[in-house]
């Protein structure tokens, strides 16, 4: 146990905030299944990493579950057709992102048959009755083929995590059922309805990673989910369900690890550095579907909530359905929302428009009223230290934000900006309503832009050197070629002269011989 870890239980227990969770009544409403929309917009970048590369052509017929884009690079994910139909376009659509910038997507016109890809067709994923007989590496490969990404929001490709764990010697699998974001209840609903499937997914993930035990962390504001999970995990000694106190950001993997195991992930490190792997409950269900039934990730549970929503609840939505179609299916809006969000209210993204597709990482669509959004004018910092107390990673948000305000990004990095998880506790708790986390998001973007500029400058220098070498080489080759030609000419001339000297009349000699 490290020096600092001794204190974590004593002084570090103030972290986090307690926003009112607004999860009910949406969490108690049964899941509805959205009918297949006539047209789906499937983005090529729904995950962290490189965008996938399309492998279908416009006009091509695709079957449900058929791969339509393949991963590029180490960290990327396969994309599948969420229904059967015709590819009608591959082009730019508005991204589900606060910038409202365009992104590439494959548009599929559904044929209404919703026909699965034939199990013997090339590219169809194999199903498996006994996943525990499979090689762990093979599970990782199949999960990659199924395009499974983290469903908690960050959308990191799950296969990369699974195969990486084999190398990193993972001892503990932590199952994230925290769902600490207010308003969201899709994980809660999943644990209540499909606890047995989650536990099966946990056992497959344990087999795939070689971990010995699994700890399921569920916030204690979800008693039904805890009961369901405990019942499902009853006969399995490797799986323990552990209620954790409801507190934001309990679902952040570093915080959940700290609470469940008492161990801290090192700064700039990953959970695998301390032998831990974290997966969201939704991800485990997707892994199970991929391994047992050969079903890729083509639909997900999405929470519709917020004061402006007429019928809050959870919906099973195909990937690529437009948010406004989803809202329309759920009886629409009561009033014009003051703010439309994708994800939770703390870390979610404000949408410029509802005509954006649901992606693999979309946990919810929130339509907040003006009273809920509570736009407030910021005032000067009074240095009360509330943000310091609330910060789950022990940073000084007030100091960092002052430096960022005066464009001193390096100063902010010295105060630990790179450890900031952007949870938004500081901005939530600030009595002066200073947009602290917005400063940090801005500064992180600036820093990565600066990093890119630096890499570009280095690349430019290499290009300049390469050009100088090329010009030199070309000049040398030209000179060499000229010298060679000259030598050849001289030799030919010399030979001709010698021949002429030796045989004044070669033609007669030839005729004689």
């Amino acid at each position: 146990m490290g020096f600092m870890e001794r204190f974590i239980g004593k002084v570090g227990s103030h972290w986090g905030v307690h926003p009112s969770d607004h999860k009910r009544p949406a969490a108690d409403a049964p899941v509805r299944k959205m009918p297949m929309p006539a047209r789906l917009y499937v983005p090529l970048l729904q995950h962290i990493g490189a965008a996938a590369r399309p492998i279908v052509l416009v006009g091509q017929k695709v079957a449900k579950g058929q791969a339509i884009a393949e991963p590029q690079g180490m960290v990327s994910a396969t994309i599948h057709a969420p229904t059967s139909g015709t590819v009608s376009a591959i082009g730019e659509i508005v991204a589900p992102h606060p910038s409202g910038l365009p992104m590439l997507a494959i548009t599929i016109d559904a044929d209404g048959e919703d026909r699965w890809i034939a199990p013997d067709a090339p590219g169809a994923l194999p199903s498996c009755a006994d996943p525990f007989a499979l090689d762990p590496m093979e599970i990782g490969k199949r999960v990659a083929k199924a395009g499974v990404v983290g469903m908690g929001g960050a959308a990191f490709p799950s296969a990369v995590k699974l195969t990486g764990s084999l190398r990193a010697k993972i001892s503990t699998l932590i199952v994230n059922g925290g769902e600490c974001e207010p308003y969201l209840s899709c994980d809660d609903r999943l644990m209540r309805d499909r606890a047995a499937d989650i536990v099966d997914g946990i056992r497959i993930a344990l087999h795939a990673t070689g971990a010995k035990e699994a700890l399921v962390g569920i916030e204690d504001n979800k008693p039904e989910a805890i009961a369901a999970m405990q019942k499902a995990a009853a006969g399995i000694p490797a799986v323990t369900v552990r209620p954790v106190p409801a507190r934001y950001p309990m679902g952040s993997e570093k915080q959940l690890i700290l609470v469940l195991t008492g161990r801290e992930v090192p700064a700039m490190g990953r959970p695998s550095d301390i032998g831990i792997l974290v997966h969201n409950v939704g991800t485990l269900v997707a892994i199970r579907a991929a391994i047992r039934f050969g079903q890729p990730l083509i639909s997900r549970l999405v929470t519709l909530n917020g004061g402006a929503m007429r019928a809050p609840g959870n919906l099973e939505v195909p990937i690529g359905a437009l948010a406004d179609a989803v809202i329309a299916f759920a009886n629409g809006l009561k009033e014009e929302p003051a703010r439309l969000l994708m994800g939770g209210p703390m870390m979610g993204m404000q949408l410029p428009d509802a005509r954006v597709p649901i992606v693999k990482g979309t946990s919810g669509i929130l339509a907040l009223t003006a009273a809920e959004a509570a736009e407030r004018q910021p005032e000067p910092c009074i240095r009360c230290g509330s943000c310091v107390k609330a910060c789950p990673v022990g940073l000084l948000p007030l100091e960092m934000s002052r430096r960022i305000a005066s464009a001193d990004y390096d100063g902010a990095v010295d105060f630990g900006l790179k450890d900031c998880v952007a949870c938004g506790c500081c901005a939530y708790i600030c009595p002066a309503r200073i947009p602290l986390v917005q400063y940090f998001n801005h500064a992180k973007g600036e820093l990565s832009a600066r990093e890119r500029t630096k890499l570009r400058a280095e690349a430019t220098k290499k290009l300049v050197v390469a050009r100088a070498e090329r010009i030199e080489r070309e000049a040398r080759e030209k000179a060499e070629a000229a010298a060679r030609r000259k030598a050849e000419r001289d030799a030919a001339k010399k030979a001709a002269a010698e021949a002429a000297a030796a045989n004044p009349q070669p033609t007669t000699e030839e005729a004689e011989s």
């Binding site: 992102h97 947009p435 973007g445 430019t460 050009r467």
Partner: protein
């Protein structure tokens, strides 16, 4: 023939030796700072600053004849780095930071004359005689060297399009 070859060879060798010795003895003391600052510059010798290449701009900055903001392709990033290294006061307000720019070929009027490819310091333009040229976005540094060479004004500068991967949250307006 032999005499001519020998005498010229001898002359060349002698003069070369003389040059080498002179280079050693009369070496100009270069400020080691120059090399350090030059490493910070883009290094394309594009000449937009009005000095003979990056080395010229660096000595002008060190002598105080030019502000650290004199490098247009470097923009604010290079200006800040140079000013920090030299401990100079920096006024970024007059840096017309148009943001990163790249050259774009208007394909309808490109005649495939190959003039632009020859001046590009990073070999960022591809093309051949009577073929439409194209600019490699990743390699173009936005130095504008090619723009003046184009006889049909087919090359124009455009800001690098902002993509989702490059987008940065705006700074909160309240300070």
């Amino acid at each position: 023939m032999l005499a001519a070859t020998l005498s010229l060879t001898l002359l060349g060798a002698l003069l070369g030796l003389l040059l080498g010795i002179a280079g050693r003895f009369f070496a100009v003391e270069v400020n080691p700072l120059n090399a350090e600052i030059e490493a910070l510059m883009p290094g394309t010798n594009c000449g937009q600053c009005g000095f003979p290449g990056c080395a010229g701009a660096v000595s002008a900055i060190i002598e105080g004849a030019a502000p650290p903001t004199c490098c247009p392709p470097g923009g604010k990033a290079v200006a800040t780095a140079v000013a920090a290294k030299l401990g100079l006061a920096l006024d970024l307000s007059d840096v017309a930071d148009k943001g990163p720019q790249i050259a774009v070929v208007t394909e309808e009027i490109c005649i495939g004359c190959c003039r632009c490819l020859k001046v590009c310091p990073t070999d960022a333009i591809v093309g051949a005689a009577k073929q439409i040229h194209n600019v490699l976005r990743e390699a173009c540094t936005g130095c504008e060297a090619c723009v003046d060479r184009c006889p049909t004004e087919a090359l124009t500068m455009h800001p690098v399009p902002v993509t989702l991967q490059h987008w940065v949250w705006p700074k909160p307006v309240f300070a």
